[in-house]
Symmetry: C2
Subunit: 431 residues, 2 copies
C-alpha cells in the first residue's frame, strides 16, 4: 500500500447565483418574463416549506454558521478555498448552490427539479442558457479544477437544447449535460427516438449525459415529505433503464450516462433484476423477445456506458460495490449542500473508507471521475500532494481488507455462479 495522498475529485458539487443576479445573463427579450418569475419566488418557497423541504430551525443555524463560506456557492474567488479544506482538488458542478432555501434557483426553473411537462420549453431553455453562460465564467476562473455541467431542458425542444449544448460546450463547459430526470405526464419518454439528436451531440462532443436527484411527481405525492424522500431516487434513476433497455447505447456506442446524488443502494438489485430477466430465467421464459437491439446483458451496457455519482456513500452502499462495479462509482461531497460531507469530508472519508482497499478507494474518490470528465491528474497531483488525505489519514494502514474477500470474489453472483456472498463467505469460513 503506497501512502501517497489521495487525488480527490468531487463528482457532485453545486453552484448558482442568487436568482435575481442571473438577469445580466438573460437575453433582454426575457427580462419581462424574468420579473414575473421573480415575483413567484415567494410562492415557490412556500411550496417547498409546505412539502417540508425546509426545516426552519436547521436553515437558521446553517445560514448563520456558514454565511461566509456559502458565498463560495457563486463567488469564484472563494470556491477553491472551501474545496481545499475538504481535500478536494477537482469538482463537477451542477446547478442550485442553495438546497436549503432555494435562493439560487436559475431563471424559469432550469435546475435540479426540472420536470419536462411542467416548464415552458422556450423559457426553460433561456434560463438554462443564462446559468450555463454564468457557469462558464466560473469554470474559466479555475479551469484545471472545475468541470461545469451544461443544463439542458431537452423535453419539449430537442433542437433548441442541442443548439445550447453546442454553444455551452464551445463556451468551455466540459462537465457533461444534465437533462430533466422526469419528462412528465404527456411528454415523450426517453425511449422515444425523438431524443436521438441529444444522445448524438453528447456522443460527438464527449459529454456524459446525467440526471441529478431532485424531481418527483409533487402533485401526486401531495405534501407528504416521506413519499418525496422515498420516491425521488427512483424518478432520478429511471432514465438509466430507459436507455439500457431501448437500444440507445447500441445506436450511440460512445454515449455515457450517469445518475448523480441518487445514491447507489438500488443499483446492484437493478442489475441483478435486469440480467436475470434478460437471461430468460424461469420467471421470464414465458415472455417474448426483449428486442433485436438488445445484443448484450443489461449489466454489460451499464459497465460500458453508465456510472453512478453516488456522492456521499453509506456503508451499506459501499458494501455493494462489487455488484455495482467499483469502477462505476464516483464519490462526491455535494458541496455546498448540508446533506453532503463538506466541510467535514476528511472525517467522513475516515469513517466510510477505513477498511476499503486503497486501490478501490483511489478509483471511487477521484481517478474514475478524472477519466470520466477529463481532469489532468498529472497537473493536479502537486495540489493533491498538498491537500489530499493519505490512506494513513483514513486509517487504512490498520485495516483488515480481507473482510471483503467473499464479496469481491463473488462479484455479481448471478453471473459468477456461486450462491449469494453471505453463503459463499460462510462456506469459505467452514473450509
Amino acid at each position: 500500500m503506497t501512502n501517497d495522498p489521495y487525488l480527490i475529485i468531487s463528482a457532485d458539487t453545486h453552484a448558482g447565483l442568487p436568482t435575481e443576479q442571473y438577469r445580466p445573463y438573460l437575453d433582454p427579450a426575457q427580462h419581462e418574463a424574468f420579473d414575473a418569475f421573480l415575483a413567484q419566488q415567494t410562492a415557490i418557497a412556500d411550496a417547498r416549506k409546505q412539502l417540508g423541504l425546509q426545516n426552519e430551525e436547521f436553515a437558521g443555524a446553517w445560514f448563520e454558521e456558514h454565511e461566509e463560506e456559502l458565498r463560495a456557492g457563486w463567488d469564484a474567488a472563494k470556491r477553491d478555498g472551501e474545496l481545499d479544506k475538504d481535500g478536494v482538488v477537482g469538482e463537477v458542478i451542477f446547478p442550485d448552490a442553495d438546497a436549503v432555501a432555494g435562493s439560487t434557483a436559475a431563471p424559469f426553473g432550469a435546475g435540479l427539479g426540472m420536470v419536462g411537462a411542467e416548464y415552458e420549453p422556450e423559457l426553460a431553455l433561456a434560463g438554462a442558457r443564462a446559468h450555463n453562460r454564468w457557469l462558464a465564467g466560473l469554470c474559466q476562473d479555475s479551469p484545471a479544477r472545475r468541470r461545469g455541467v451544461i443544463v439542458a431542458p431537452i423535453v419539449g425542444n430537442v433542437p433548441g437544447a442541442v443548439t445550447e449544448i453546442r454553444r455551452a460546450h464551445a463556451d468551455g463547459l466540459r462537465g457533461g449535460v444534465m437533462i430533466p430526470s422526469m419528462w412528465g405526464e404527456g411528454e415523450k419518454p426517453y425511449h422515444d427516438q425523438a431524443y436521438d439528436p441529444v444522445w448524438a451531440v453528447c456522443e460527438e462532443l464527449g459529454l456524459p449525459a446525467h440526471t441529478h436527484v431532485g424531481a418527483a411527481p409533487r402533485q401526486e405525492l401531495g405534501t407528504h415529505l416521506g413519499l418525496y424522500v422515498t420516491e425521488v431516487v427512483w424518478w432520478s434513476a429511471r432514465p438509466l433503464w430507459f436507455l439500457i433497455w431501448t437500444g440507445v447505447f447500441e445506436r450511440f456506442p460512445g454515449l455515457r450516462f450517469g445518475v448523480t446524488e441518487a445514491g447507489a443502494w438500488w443499483a446492484g438489485s437493478l442489475l441483478w433484476q435486469m440480467d436475470v430477466a434478460y437471461d430468460r430465467e424461469h420467471g421470464t421464459q414465458k415472455l417474448a423477445s426483449f428486442g433485436e437491439h438488445m445484443k448484450r446483458r443489461p449489466s454489460e451496457y451499464f459497465d460500458a456506458h453508465c456510472f453512478i455519482g453516488m456522492s456521499t456513500p453509506k456503508r451499506r452502499e459501499l458494501s455493494q460495490r462489487y455488484e455495482i462495479g467499483v469502477g462505476n462509482l464516483l464519490w462526491g461531497n455535494d458541496f455546498p449542500h448540508p446533506e453532503g460531507t463538506w466541510p467535514h469530508t476528511r472525517d467522513w472519508l475516515a469513517h466510510a473508507f477505513a477498511d476499503i482497499p486503497v486501490d478501490e478507494a483511489r478509483a471511487m474518490l477521484g481517478l474514475t471521475a478524472a477519466q470520466t470528465y477529463g481532469f489532468d491528474t498529472a497537473g493536479l497531483r502537486p495540489l493533491a500532494d498538498r491537500i489530499g488525505p493519505t490512506p494513513q489519514d483514513l486509517g487504512q494502514d490498520k485495516a483488515d481488507t480481507s473482510i471483503w474477500n467473499a464479496a469481491r470474489e463473488t462479484g455479481r453472483h448471478w453471473l459468477t455462479g456461486p450462491d449469494v456472498p453471505a453463503v459463499v463467505g460462510a462456506a469459505r469460513r467452514a473450509r
Copy 2:
C-alpha cells in the same frame, strides 16, 4: 429439528373462468356491454403480444403439455389434486388463471392489470362482482383449503367498492381484498382520505388489503418489454409506502396490507431507506417534519401491518429475510402460472430452502399465511402429513445453517448498530 412434514400454504395462486363463461355471473344489465368487451378481446390479446408478454413457442408447448391440468384454473373438482402434487394444503386465490394468453380475464378488465384511470368504474365493479360471485362458489367447494381474494376496483367508486367488499365477504370470500396497484393519471392517490372507507371495511371485516403485480404505465413504456419487466414491481409495491408514510395505519390500527408476487428483493433497502430518513440521519436533517401522524419508524409500521407475498423467492431474496423480517414473508407457488413453481414445487423448495433453518422455513412456507388468512392448521395437519415434504426431503437435515448467523444476529443493521453483515460476519471470522 423435528422432521414433521411441512404445512404448506401458497399465498399466491390464481383462478378464473374462460372469459365468456363469466356471463351468467354478470347482471343482465351488463350483458350488452359484455358482448362489446368480448369483441375487444382479440385487440387486447394483440396488445399483449406487441409488448412481448406472450412467447408463441412457449405458449404452444405450455398449453399442449398442461392442457388437462390447466383446467384446474377454473374446475373446482381438479384443483385440489394439482395442489396435492405440489404438497400444498392451502391457497390464497387471486384472479387471472391464464397468465400466458390471458384467456381467463374477468369481464371489463377486473383483474391483475387494473389501472384506476383506465377502467370505467361501474363496469369494472360489475366485472369484479361477477368474478367474486364465481370465486365464492369455487371456495365453497373446498372451504378448508381455499381463501378467495375479493377483487375491488376502489378507484373511481369507493362506496360501490365498499359495498362489493361487504357483499363478497358475506358470500364467504375470506382471502382479503385486492385493490388496483395503480390509481393512474389524474385519479386520487392512495394517501387521499377519500379511500378511508376502504381501509375501514378491510379493518372491520379482518380482510388484508393487497396489491398484486401486473399493472404498469403501458402507454409510457411503449412496447419495450424490458421496461415493463423492470418497472412492474415498483408500481405494484408503491401503495405500501403511500400507506406507511401518510398515517393510514395510525387511523386504521387493525389494517393489514400485503404486496403479492412483486418479489421481496427491494423490501430490505426500502425499509433501510425509510428508517434512516425518519431517524433524521445526516442527509435528512435539513428537512422538516414527516408529519404529526408518523409516530413510529416506517419499519415498525411495516412489521405491525404489512407483509410480502413473495411467491417463489430467489436465493438473493431469502438471504435478505432478516432485514425484511422472516415473519413478514409468505411463500407461494403462483399456481397455475408458468413463472411459478407448480408442478415442480418440491424440487424448487429443495433448491431454495435446503440450508434455511427449519423453523424459519415453516413460517414462510405456511404458518404465517395460516395466521394471516385464518386457515385451520389443526384441521389441515392430517392432509399435510400425507402430502407435505419433510425437512429431510428438502435436504435440511444435512445443512449447516450457521452460515446465516451473521445476517441473523445483525438483523436490520441500521437499527442494531453494527456494520453491514458482510463486515460483521467477517469480523467474527477474524476473532
